[in-house]
Symmetry: C2
């Protein structure tokens, strides 16, 4: 059904240049190698003749497809779209496009997706879904495919990554609760297979130790997923212990929203009965009831830097890997409040 089109030689002949010059102009990544006036002329002629570069075919010749695979664990988690958009726009500027895939947190489908992307000979991968010990990342490295992790890191390899200073983020949230007078603090963390889940959990224990605050281990739960329903279930479990608490520090905003839901079910109010903190400052948490006190990370910067590191790695595969660590900050909103008389007196038993 496809119409036959002019080929690159037709364009080169009309412009009076070598086909390789046409090729350079039609690839945004190499256009700057040709003078602007000549580039404009060639683009005009290509358009007149209806010639279009086929990166798929040229990828087979040059071993480059100008395609980057981006794997995220959950596109419906509002933290990822701003990262994805920043990645796409940064790649687009250099003539690359992103193949986005949503693994839905399932390791099996993640493997299939990455295999599929490798088979499509992507020039590199940006992974937001990696585990701390990740054989999928290993296999990419072994095959020489440039990989950059975003919002994740792995233990076993020196892999490029853009992450946040999670220790600092957790400590900011913890100190905030301490400053408000809270001492009976629960923790709801994320999956320990993910670096974010693991690092934030360790950071919480360390912050408590440094502050000389005794944490009841029954009030510390690492959820299996960073989701609202996992956060809700974790808080219900904490409530069933019947222990006293006045605040919950969570490792992710969706977990915090789950705590809101659990509090609703128990007819308890945030922050009157329980103060709650989140992590990520994902879009819209400032609009929630109550607006969420959380650790802000720059989602756009995560995406921009991940794209930049990957493009460097594609241009120069032998360059050493880099880890960038961005600095988070605390945003105080309505979900945290000073320990009040009722909380101090009753010990605020939740069950």
């Amino acid at each position: 059904m496809l119409k036959s089109r002019a080929n690159i030689k037709d364009v080169a002949r009309r412009a009076g240049v070598h086909p390789s010059t046409v090729s350079r102009v039609l690839n945004p990544a190499t256009r700057s190698m040709v003078s602007e006036a000549l580039a404009k002329k060639i683009l005009r002629i290509a358009e007149e003749l209806g010639y279009r570069r086929n990166p798929l075919a040229s990828g087979l010749r040059t071993r480059r497809t100008y395609t980057v695979g981006v794997v995220i664990p959950d596109i419906t988690n509002p933290v990822f779209p701003p990262i994805v958009r920043a990645v796409e726009h940064a790649l687009d500027e250099k003539g690359y496009i992103a193949i986005l895939a949503d693994s839905g947190s399932k390791r099996r489908s993640e493997k299939a997706l990455i295999e599929n992307m490798k088979a499509r000979q992507v020039d590199g991968l940006i992974l937001a879904a990696a585990n701390r010990k990740d054989h999928l990342v290993d296999s990419c490295i072994d095959e020489g495919i440039p990989v950059v992790l975003v919002n994740r890191s792995v233990e076993q390899h020196s892999v490029s990554a853009v992450i946040n200073d999670d220790e600092l983020g957790i400590d900011l949230a913890f100190q905030h609760l301490i400053d408000l007078g809270h001492r009976e603090i629960a923790y709801i963390g994320g999956p320990q297979r993910a670096s974010t889940g693991y690092t934030r959990y360790r950071a919480f224990l360390r912050s408590a130790k440094q502050a000389g605050v005794n944490i009841d281990r029954e009030l510390v739960i690492n959820a299996r997923e960073f989701t609202e329903s996992a956060g809700q279930a974790a808080f219900q479990e904490i409530a069933r212990t019947g222990k006293n608490l006045s605040a919950v520090l969570t490792a992710n905003d969706l977990l915090a929203l789950g705590v809101f839901d659990a509090l609703d079910d128990l007819d308890m109010k945030c922050p009157r009965d329980i103060s709650v903190t989140g992590f990520n400052d994902m879009p819209y948490v400032d609009r929630f009831v109550p607006p969420l006190t959380t650790v802000h990370i720059s989602l756009e910067e995560l995406g921009v830097q991940a794209a930049r590191l990957l493009l460097e790695k594609i241009e120069n595969p032998d360059a050493p890997s880099k880890q960038l660590r961005l600095e988070p900050r605390l945003i105080v909103r309505g979900s945290t409040a000073t320990l009040n008389a009722a909380q101090a007196k009753s010990g605020n038993r939740v069950a």
Copy 2:
């Protein structure tokens, strides 16, 4: 840097079958043509030998790449991630992957993205960013590329599309406001180049006419984008007219959030001073202050049906185009209330 690998003939020889059988098994879309036992054997041998199907190269032979391009206008609009996820999962089941691109509402970049996807010889396109009169859609049709629109329709062609019954949706919201006693109703719509913006605007005027409610044209504004900032600016413009109103019907949830922001700036309360309705029931609007009364559309169903229509079209390019229209429903939450005495008395002049 890539290791040399076994090829399809090595796998076929070891399995004692023709290479075309191996090819069928390794493509999820054709695997069912081979017995399950044989498929398992071939998959095991392929894994042992480290052979991987290259859909890029096989796409050049078979003219199929098992890749679908998905263009959305704004990945950070929470309405799109659930649609995208549903599309991805439905495609994945048939062995296709999605190349996702976010056009950021810019027509120029949208053109570049679609051109890029065409050059990569996608088997089809799912477009959520189409205009009512769209030469980009025309050009795809002219070139014989299967296209399905999702949450959009176009005028000039018989193009497959999955849309919502926007007339019904707007009428449900309008009737709800009328039932609450409101008569001085403002409307904030979306861009008229988009079918959703156009259809919802026409539906609002029709609903008002049928209900015998006189609408002040100064209270009717079609914003240029479906964004919070556009909704905020539109309500500020309405406020500057100094006209009486007690309710605002908006054509999209983000516009409604912008009205919330404008009301905050004016020290007015929703719904005490102004009732507000949205459209889409995007994720998290039930958590906002106040929770948004809105028209619910099934985002997952939009995605699933769009993928299904596109796969049909890819299998059978000559099949007639189909338009599916899904039925929306109203979800009443806290942003709408009965016309109160203060509103009825003062006429609730906003400026």
